[in-house]
């Protein structure tokens, strides 16, 4: 069944045909149903009228026979009464009765005992057919004393002619018996005294045959009952005279049959529909003249409607066969009409498999299938076009991806690769890592050393991807450019902000933390532009207090604030972007600052706060937390540990000079003395002398207003590693280390006079460092001592 339904669902032709046939069948059923109903009604009425007619005719015929019997009997009576004295004549009369009426069964003209003296006790002229011959004999005998029979007594007692109930007539001579009914009429003499009876019988068998011969339908039959309901005519001969119409109802109550019996007994006429022996029948009944009998014709419904049923069967057969043929032809026709669709479907498969050049069939049709075919052709062309475009787009995308990879390489290349460790420096060690979420990211970090300062920054550009990475590159290069000439983080950030905001048309921004760590002193100056506050991991774990300011990039006029703190030896500054605190696991839970603190505390407890250890532990913690979830944001961390150990001072000297360049020879003498004490050779001494002179002359010339008198203090100190000159003045803030260096490769014409001082200082000393402390300019020059 399921298979059939599946088949029907798959076959449009079958489905459509089934629908058509289904509706046709409904129409046929409705029309034929009505037709059949009407036809049946007509057939029924026709059957009723036909049966009624036949019954009437039969009844008339029986009536006419009975009438003939009565008339003949009456005529004979008249003859007999005219000649009552001639006994021989009676035999003639009796004989002529049958001669004239061959359908009569017998005729007796019987007289009272001893009416004819010569005849004795019995005189009955009894005439009967024996075969075709008529035989007339003396009917009465000792065995048959007729004057005691019903037929003789009834007219005598009733005083009028009458029909007897059917009875068995025994023919003594031939010893045959026959069921008969008789008309009996009394013979009277002139005085009105009854002298005999004329009895004329009709064979019930003959009557029955007459009645039975009425067959309006092949299986219809007739019955006749007497006054008491006794069957006289019935197809089942065993019932005749032995059963009444009510006999059957005694065993099986049948109200319809009972009602029929009563109606017939009462001489009614009519039609009844009832079930006889399990068969639906129509029964038409009518009384038979004066006999008191009633006859009925029983017509089985199947007979009445047999013609109709045959017609119905034939029509139904034609309809069903017609519908089946219709179904078959519809399926064939629709299948044939849909054939092009199947071809189209096949071509579509071919196209779907990638062969876009598959040739489509040209149906030359203008119907829907033709339109579909045409649309299909258009679709194919469009597909070919779109695939071409798609190929191109894909190629472009691949090219972009390749570009992105290169961009990522360039971006990573911008970041410092070499991180100073304990082996490289004795004052600071540093480690950083940057993991972009996409190929190119918006996080940045940078650091570099200038003089004895560590410049570093960490930042996070709003957004991700290529725009963020470009912005990051701009930020990073601006940081480098600006910080070359500027050592104060607040001014670095302010200048960067102005530069970036002026060219920022996209309203992107970057949160930035810029720090400058003065390595000799451990002094950290920093400026925070909306970035996460770094952690200090040293004596404990705590956040570096940060002004919030605003991120860099959208308010060019903003003045960023400067903050300062002292970093103690061993302390690690841990910087990060929000990619750390906002790292998400699969359930979108954030890593959060608390976990960062916990990891840092654990690292500190385990004495693992060195930069690469701290970052390794943080990275591991984040990976463990995030699990298999996709990295949601760039993750950048930078750790800076200050490790400078203060050495014992072995020598300390100082000189205070007025701000007059004529004091330079004193300065040079002081420097030479110091250098000799430390043990530098002539050339190095010369270099130091030139450098210190440049630094001091700078102060003398430019730190104060013209004519203003003040002092310059020059301190010299040495440990076993370095010789340090510190030049201190109270003049206007001036950082010589950010002055542009001269280009020593230019030709004589291009060389400018001046600007050489800072260059000479840098070249001759190992480090040069400027600090503004307590309203003093503090410039430090250092030279390594080579043992």
């Amino acid at each position: 069944m399921k298979k059939i339904i599946a088949y029907i669902r798959r076959k449009l032709s079958v489905r459509v045909s089934l629908w058509v046939v289904f509706f046709a069948a409904i129409i046929f059923i409705a029309a034929l149903g009505f037709l059949f109903y009407q036809a049946r009604e007509t057939v029924r009425q026709e059957a009723v009228s036909r049966a009624t007619q036949i019954l009437d005719k039969t009844s008339l015929r029986v009536d006419s026979i009975l009438n003939r019997v009565e008339v003949a009997s009456t005529m004979t009576k008249w003859l007999v009464e005219r000649h009552p004295d001639k006994s021989d004549s009676m035999f003639v009369y009796s004989r002529s009765m049958l001669e004239n009426n061959p359908d009569f069964y017998n005729c007796s003209i019987a007289f009272e005992p001893y009416y004819f003296k010569d005849r004795g006790l019995y005189c009955s002229a009894y005439t009967k057919f024996i075969g075709d011959t008529i035989r007339t004999i003396q009917g009465g005998s000792e065995n048959y004393q007729y004057f005691f029979t019903d037929w003789y007594l009834m007219p005598k007692l009733l005083g009028r002619p009458c029909w007897t109930e059917p009875y068995m007539d025994l023919d003594v001579a031939t010893n045959t018996s026959e069921m008969v009914t008789s008309y009996c009429i009394a013979i009277t003499d002139k005085k009105g005294q009854m002298i005999g009876v004329i009895n004329t019988s009709l064979s019930l068998n003959w009557l029955s045959q007459t009645i039975s011969s009425i067959k309006p339908y092949p299986h219809s039959y007739s019955i006749m009952i007497g006054r008491g309901g006794t069957y006289f005519v019935h197809p089942d001969t065993t019932k005749i005279t032995r059963q009444t119409i009510f006999t059957q109802t005694l065993e099986q109550p049948d109200t319809a049959l009972t009602a029929l019996g009563y109606a017939m007994q009462h001489g009614e006429e009519g039609m009844k529909q009832m079930s006889i022996n399990g068969e639906d029948c129509y029964v038409f009944y009518k009384p038979l003249g004066k006999t008191g009998c009633s006859m009925a014709i029983v017509c089985p419904e199947s007979d009445i409607f047999s013609g109709f049923d045959r017609l119905r069967r034939t029509i139904m057969t034609i309809v069903i066969v017609g519908l089946l043929l219709m179904l078959y032809f519809f399926i064939r026709i629709i299948t044939r009409e849909l054939q092009p669709l199947r071809r189209l479907a096949k071509e579509a498969e071919t196209i779907a498999s990638g062969q876009f050049d598959a040739e489509l069939p040209d149906f030359q049709r203008i119907d829907e299938i033709g339109q579909l075919s045409q649309s299909f052709g258009n679709m194919q062309q469009s597909l070919v076009k779109y695939i071409e475009e798609l190929k191109e787009t894909t190629a472009q995308k691949a090219s972009i991806e390749s570009d992105l990879r290169i961009a990522s390489g360039i971006q990573m290349g911008m970041l410092p690769k070499k991180f100073p460790t304990r082996d490289d420096r004795d004052d600071v060690q540093l480690f950083a890592s940057l993991t972009p979420a996409k190929e190119v990211g918006g996080d940045l970090f940078d650091f570099y050393f200038r003089d004895e300062k560590l410049f570093f920054c960490i930042g996070d550009v709003s957004g991700k991807g290529v725009p963020a990475s470009l912005f990051m590159a701009v930020t990073r290069s601006t940081f480098r450019t600006v910080s070359v000439h500027e050592s104060m983080p607040d001014r670095i950030v302010t200048t960067m902000n102005k530069t970036i905001a002026d060219m920022n048309k996209t309203f992107m921004f970057v949160t930035l933390f810029v720090g400058v760590l003065d390595l000799p002193t451990g002094r950290l100056r920093y400026c925070n532009a909306g970035h996460d506050a770094p952690l200090l991991v040293g004596a404990g774990v705590g956040e570096l207090p940060c002004d919030s300011n605003i991120p860099v990039g959208f308010r060019p006029e903003w003045k960023f604030s400067l903050q300062e703190t002292q970093i103690f030896t061993g302390t690690t500054i841990f910087l990060f972007t929000d990619g750390l605190t906002e790292a998400m696991d699969a359930n979108k839970t954030l890593f959060q600052m608390k976990r960062v603190n916990d990891v840092a505390s654990r690292a500190l407890a385990n004495q693992q706060q060195e930069p690469h250890q701290l970052i390794a532990q943080m990275t591991e913690a984040v990976h463990l937390f995030v699990g298999n979830a996709e990295q949601s944001d760039d993750l950048t961390m930078m750790a800076i540990q200050y490790i400078r150990q203060q050495s014992d001072v072995q020598m300390r000297k100082s000189i205070v000079l007025p701000n007059d360049t004529q004091e330079v020879p004193r300065l040079n003498a002081f420097v030479e003395e110091v250098c000799q004490t430390v043990g530098f050779d002539e050339i190095v001494t010369m270099q130091i002398k030139v450098a210190v002179e440049e630094a001091v002359v700078n102060v003398m010339k430019y730190a104060y207003l013209p004519g203003q008198r003040s002092d310059v203090t020059i301190e010299a100190a040495s440990n076993d590693m370095r010789l340090k000159f510190t030049i201190i003045d109270s003049g206007k803030p001036f950082d010589p280390t950010v002055q542009a260096a001269v280009d020593t490769t230019l030709s004589a014409k291009e060389r400018k006079i001046g600007g050489l001082g800072i260059h000479i200082m840098r070249q001759n000393m190992d480090s040069i460092n400027y600090e503004r402390m307590d309203n003093l300019n503090v410039l430090t020059l250092r030279k390594k001592i080579i043992h």
Binding site: E663, V664, E693, T744, A748, N764
Partner: protein
Amino acid sequence: MNVTIQEQDSNMIAILEGSLDTAAAAETEKAMSPLYDVKGKDIIIDCTDLEYISSAGLRIFLGILHNAGEKGGHVYIKGINDKVRAIFTITGFSNIFEFM
């Protein structure tokens, strides 16, 4: 700081002795002013006895070189010692002066 200017074989020779520091620079510049007006002659600066030079001193040297260059002359530096040559080298002046 002593400065001696001589004319010899159509060359101007300046003999510098002592330390040319910032303090001495103004005086030295004044003493060497004749060299700014030299025309059509080469200038030889004899540094054999120059003990020390600061950037102020180098500025004077550069001024002389610029002037001579405009007038088509050469400036030669003679007899420079290692200490002072180191300063010249560091500052890149060794690239723009001619040494004898």
